[in-house]
């Protein structure tokens, strides 16, 4: 697992109170991990803080699964 993926996973485990094993690339924040709309906004904010990026709202709306978050960040975070 990439460094980004493991940090994303840690944030999701912390914020959504889920087990690490549930945080698979296909897992949807809302359908699989019990997030509501406010949780999802908070997750995006945590990603922004952790990786020092700004995720515009129109991009944030496309991030619905763990894999989508990791892919977005791997593309947009400066190494």
């Amino acid at each position: 697992m990439s460094d980004i993926a493991s940090r994303v996973k840690a944030i999701i485990v912390e914020k959504l109170g889920v087990d690490e094993s549930e945080v698979t690339p296909e897992a949807s924040f809302t359908n699989d991990l019990g997030a509501d709309s406010l949780d999802t906004v908070e997750l995006i904010m945590e990603f922004e803080k952790e990786f020092n990026v700004a995720i515009p709202d129109d991009q944030a709306e496309t991030i619905g699964t763990v894999g989508q978050a990791v892919a977005y960040l791997e593309k947009n975070v400066k190494a």
Binding site: L38, E42, M45
Partner: protein, 417 residues
């Protein structure tokens, strides 16, 4: 129309002197002080370094970490005391009409800690608003009854009353009135407050409202003592289940007492100082008595607002003297804030519980920390100083007065069929 009768069928308490009703009552009748040096933040630079904090409350253990972090302490406390009251009342909501059960809750301030944390976080940044999406729903004062309704599926009337330190007396009176009018079968009511943080202590210190007796916190809350020097901040929650009598009987409920009256008034004088002649306080006690259909001769015990401030205590004594006439020499008065500190928006609820249990047990909890008589007070008045007293308590009244000049007073009576 004829009013319906309203009874108390369940109690819950999370207080600085006990995290259950039983422990709270034992603390009260044994004269235990809940005051100690503040543990929840660094008090080095604060004028007042102590308060009556809730002890040993484990939010993560009670709610789970995921939910606990979405709830301000004033909501965590509300859910905790309410769980005790729901169990105590033997409520099985699956067997009850939940559209006829409401929640009316009091809080003076709401989520002050949440507000403080979020604004501090914003101020540390570059001006870009990076507020947590839970900021507003964690903070707003109405969210406690919202969460209680969500947890138990209660779809009756639901809101918060905000009148500073009279808030939960107002919640009790509102619930009582809706029940009398037949608008609901039952209310979960009471109040909670959690302001022991930098903003709460610093803010009340700026007003010179708090005691600064840092060398002896346990005796700092000393209502009616000559050397009283301000109130001691408290925190916690009290839950009271109020129920329409026939509904309570039909489900075989245990009945603690009957709620028989509520009065409300305003000082219309100053934003924080009480009226110097106790005008609003006198009016509210009279209004409550009239509402209950009683005269002063019927009352046995008054749990006073009695915050231990230099100017608040005398105006309340003046008010009781004016409202009760000669009966003042035959009643017991006590300020349980001498033990719990001042729970602000939760004070009315936990003190109503003290009044209800005084009726149930025929014991008057004391006003502790009395050392020196204040010559301003008539020595024939029985303030129940330092030790609990036994007496038959048929009727007990409980007062709450808030910044803004809000006054609210409630009256309970021994239940008789």
């Amino acid at each position: 129309m004829e009013f319906k009768r309203v009874v108390v069928t369940g109690l819950g308490a999370l207080t600085p002197i006990g995290n259950t009703v039983a422990d709270y009552w034992n603390g009260l009748i044994n004269g235990v002080s809940g005051a100690a040096f503040i543990k929840s933040f660094d008090v080095t630079n604060f004028k007042t370094k102590f308060a009556c904090e809730v002890k040993g409350f484990d939010a993560d253990g009670f709610l789970g970490r995921k939910d606990a972090r979405k709830l301000d302490p004033f909501v965590q406390y509300a859910l905790f005391s309410t769980e005790e009251a729901v169990k105590d009342a033997g409520l099985d909501f699956e067997k009850l009409d939940t559209s006829r059960i409401g929640v009316i809750w009091g809080s003076g301030i709401g989520g002050l800690k949440t507000f403080l944390d979020e604004v501090v976080n914003f101020a540390k940044g570059d001006g870009t608003p990076k507020f947590n999406p839970f900021f507003i729903p964690k903070m707003i004062a109405d969210i406690a009854p919202g969460h209680i309704s969500i947890k138990y599926g209660l779809r009756g009337p639901n809101f918060t009353t905000v009148s500073a330190c009279a808030s939960s007396n107002n919640s009790l009176i509102d619930a009582f009135n809706y029940l009398r009018l037949g608008k609901a079968n039952m209310f979960i009511t009471g109040g909670s407050e959690a302001i022991i943080n930098e903003a709460g202590i610093g803010g009340f210190n700026a007003m010179h409202a708090l005691s600064t007796r840092n060398d002896d916190p346990a005796t700092a809350s000393r209502p009616f003592d000559l050397d009283r020097d301000g109130f001691v901040a408290g925190e916690g929650a009290g839950t009271i289940i109020l129920e329409e009598l026939e509904h309570a009987k039909a489900r075989g409920a245990k009945i603690y007492a009957e709620m028989i009256g509520g009065g409300m008034s305003a000082d219309a004088y100053h934003m924080t100082a009480p009226h110097p002649e106790g005008l609003g306080a006198c009016l509210v006690m009279k209004a409550a008595l009239e509402d209950a259909g009683l005269t002063p001769a019927d009352v046995d015990y008054v749990n006073v607002h009695g915050t231990s401030t230099p100017i608040g205590d005398p105006q309340e004594v003046k008010a009781i003297t004016d409202a009760f006439g000669d009966r003042i020499y035959d009643i017991n008065i006590s300020s349980t804030k001498s033990m719990t500190g001042h729970l602000l928006g939760a004070a009315g609820a936990v003190e109503a519980i003290a009044a209800i249990l005084a009726i149930k047990n025929d014991i008057i909890p004391p006003t502790i920390n009395h050392f020196t008589d204040d010559p301003a007070f008539d020595p024939k008045i029985n303030f129940t100083f330092n030790k609990a007293q036994q007496r038959v308590v048929n009727v007990a009244q409980s007062n709450g007065f808030g910044f803004g000049g809000h006054n609210a007073s409630v009256i309970f009576r021994k239940y008789q069929d």
